[in-house]
């Protein structure tokens, strides 16, 4: 009797161990699949021409597979989104954490959660119908679908993550720090700028990294507003294709080397994301050590 009870405990332990390992197995599986399906095309095209080639003409008679336009567009779009979204998100978070009366804090907190819950295709739709025509008529360009529209949509989409992370970081600063600063005669504003924000810097840095990750990984909304032509991002109104949309836009009809090259683009994107993950982990670990 006792023996069987022990045996069954062992079986259950093993079962939970397997369930625990599912996440690890998934990460390994995804990595292996991406490397195995992404490497062949990179090797065939050559890492140099693939990564630094300026022309993507996958369906031409003489196909060319250079993904520099995608890399640069993704980077420009992400940088622009952070440039716009970070100040607004950061200041909104400061308002939420320090200034807002309780009722407004609750309402605005809800608003930010709603913003986070809106599906990316809905952002894309509003971008297509409102933003793209607005950019066209405001700046007098022939087509409003391009880098600027993508930047604005992404800036709005990363806003909730930046606000939430920053609020958490600001609220985590010990009350004593602020009390000490106030006791020394500093005003409330001076305390926030000189004490609270510097003390919360690693959390704020994490918010930025998270925002970068979301912006660089977004595909559907970008697909709907960025114009989707494989150009180098040499102007804000250029029709561009990001790493994500490069994969999405040709996947359904591609085959052979073209399809393999799409997997290679996904591999490059994956490496970017893994690098960001490591950076995020490093920032948050550093915070715990303090």
């Amino acid at each position: 009797m006792k023996h069987t009870a022990k045996r069954s405990e062992q079986v259950i332990h093993a079962l939970f161990f397997l369930l625990g390992m599912v996440a690890v197995a998934c990460v390994i599986l995804i990595t292996v699949y991406l490397v195995f399906s992404g490497l062949p095309a990179i090797l065939q095209i050559g890492p140099g021409p693939f990564l630094t080639g300026k022309v993507w003409a996958s369906t031409a008679a003489q196909p060319q597979y250079g993904i520099l336009p995608f890399i640069l567009s993704s980077l420009a779009g992400t940088a622009g989104a952070i440039l716009l979204g970070l100040p607004v998100g950061f200041l909104t978070a400061l308002y939420l954490a320090k200034l807002a009366p309780p009722r407004i804090r609750a309402l605005l907190g809800q608003a930010v959660s709603v913003l986070a819950g809106i599906p990316s295709v809905v952002y894309g739709l509003v971008g297509m119908m409102v933003l793209v025509p607005a950019v066209r008529s405001l700046f007098g360009v022939p087509d409003g679908a391009g880098l600027l529209s993508a930047i604005i949509v992404l800036a709005i989409m990363i806003l909730p993550s930046i606000v939430k992370m920053t609020v958490t970081a600001l609220n985590a600063v010990p009350q004593e720090y602020e009390a000490a600063s106030l006791a020394l005669g500093a005003t409330a504003e001076e305390t926030w700028v000189r004490v609270t924000i510097p003390a919360a810097r690693s959390g704020i840095a994490a918010a930025v990294v998270l925002g970068v990750g979301r912006a660089i990984g977004e595909s559907m909304a970008v697909m709907m507003v960025a114009g989707n032509a494989p150009n180098l991002p040499d102007s804000l109104f250029q029709s561009v294709r990001f790493l994500t949309t490069a994969v999405a836009s040709e996947m359904s009809y591609s085959s052979g080397l073209q399809q393999q090259a799409l997997f290679s683009i996904a591999l490059v994107l994956f490496l970017f994301i893994m690098l960001l993950n490591a950076l995020l982990n490093f920032i948050l670990k550093g915070e715990n050590k303090l």
Binding site: E9, I12, H13, L15, F16, F17, L19, G20, V22, A23, V24, C26, V27, L29, I30, Y33, L34, S37, P87, V88, L91, T92, L94, Y95, L96, K98, L99, Q110, V112, S113, V114, L115, G117, P119, S120, V121, V122, G124, L125, M128, L159, L184, E189, E190, R194, G217, S219, A248, M251, S252, L262, F263, L269, F270, I273, M274, L276, N277, L280, N281
Partner: protein
């Protein structure tokens, strides 16, 4: 630091004004998005639209199949991800004795949470669509991997709040590990499971890139089991196809309005459940 700095800069009080402006902008943006989508979408929302399938012959756009597919894929995903996620969380908090192993599992979950959905779409296509065919099942399995970290993390958070003394009491009464987990630990992690479910449903409803190449675009209304083995578009994928490829903006806005209402409902549900558990924990 304060003494050596220049005389109090007038810039500093500006912080108050700027943050008020930014908060106002965020609030306006949210109000605009909700208002615009509902105003544009609700007029197109009719009983005919939500109760029929699209037909080329009568040039009718109907989103019944997309509604059904969304429901099916949500249920199927939860059915798979709940045991996996809860099980993994139980392993981490109750069994894992090696810190390194637990660290590796948590790192893996973080990595999964950061992977963009288009990459899930590709891997799902290779792993599931190539074996099961482009189908709702392939889409659901892809979403299972995506939502695993959400369920895991929320369950784990609430398992951590179960007092150690509960476990010790049960062990002291002679219960085995599994019995303790079943009778003491699991009933107390309901809050995390519910929160995780709500968040996951929100993510599943909003997901599109991961489903495009795994679940496909078909608009056929099927029963549950037929649907699982056949391709089908969810609401988000249908919105994308209608807006980007077919120029059917009426249908696209109608779907957007439904998605917006669902997002609002999920937000409300999350708030209510948080309040409910707060009250229950307090009493």
């Amino acid at each position: 630091m304060m003494m050596t700095s220049s005389p109090r800069r007038p810039l500093v009080p500006l912080v108050r004004v700027l943050s008020l402006l930014a908060a106002g902008l965020t609030a306006l943006l949210t109000l605009f998005l909700i208002g615009y989508i509902l105003l544009q979408g609700l007029p197109h929302l009719s009983w005919e639209l939500v109760s029929t399938s699209p037909s080329y012959i009568s040039q009718r756009v109907g989103i019944l199949p997309d509604l059904l597919n969304t429901l099916y894929i949500t249920l199927t995903t939860l059915l798979f991800v709940l045991p996996l996620g809860v099980g993994a969380a139980v392993y981490l908090t109750e069994y894992a004795s090696s810190r390194r192993l637990a660290g590796a599992i948590e790192y893996a979950a973080e990595a999964l949470a950061g992977i963009p959905s288009i990459i899930y779409g590709l891997v799902g296509m290779l792993l599931f669509s190539n074996t099961l065919g482009t189908s709702l099942m392939a889409g659901a399995l892809t979403l299972v991997i995506m939502n695993l970290p959400t369920i895991m993390r929320n369950t784990q958070e609430s398992l951590k709040t179960v007092p150690q003394s509960y476990r010790e009491g049960a062990f002291g009464l002679g219960a085995g590990k599994w019995r303790v987990i079943r009778t003491v630990v699991l009933p107390n992690c309901l809050e995390g499971v519910v929160t995780g479910c709500i968040l996951s449903v929100g993510r599943i409803l909003g997901e599109s890139a991961a489903l495009l190449f795994t679940a496909g675009f078909a608009h056929t209304a099927n029963d549950f089991f037929t649907a699982l083995s056949s391709p089908g578009a969810t609401l988000t994928v249908a919105l994308y196809v209608y807006a980007k490829e077919q120029g059917e903006f009426g249908a696209a806005f109608a779907i957007a309005a439904i998605l917006m209402l669902l997002a609002l409902a999920i937000n409300l549900l999350a708030t209510l459940s948080a309040k409910f558990f707060q009250r229950r924990n307090a009493s």
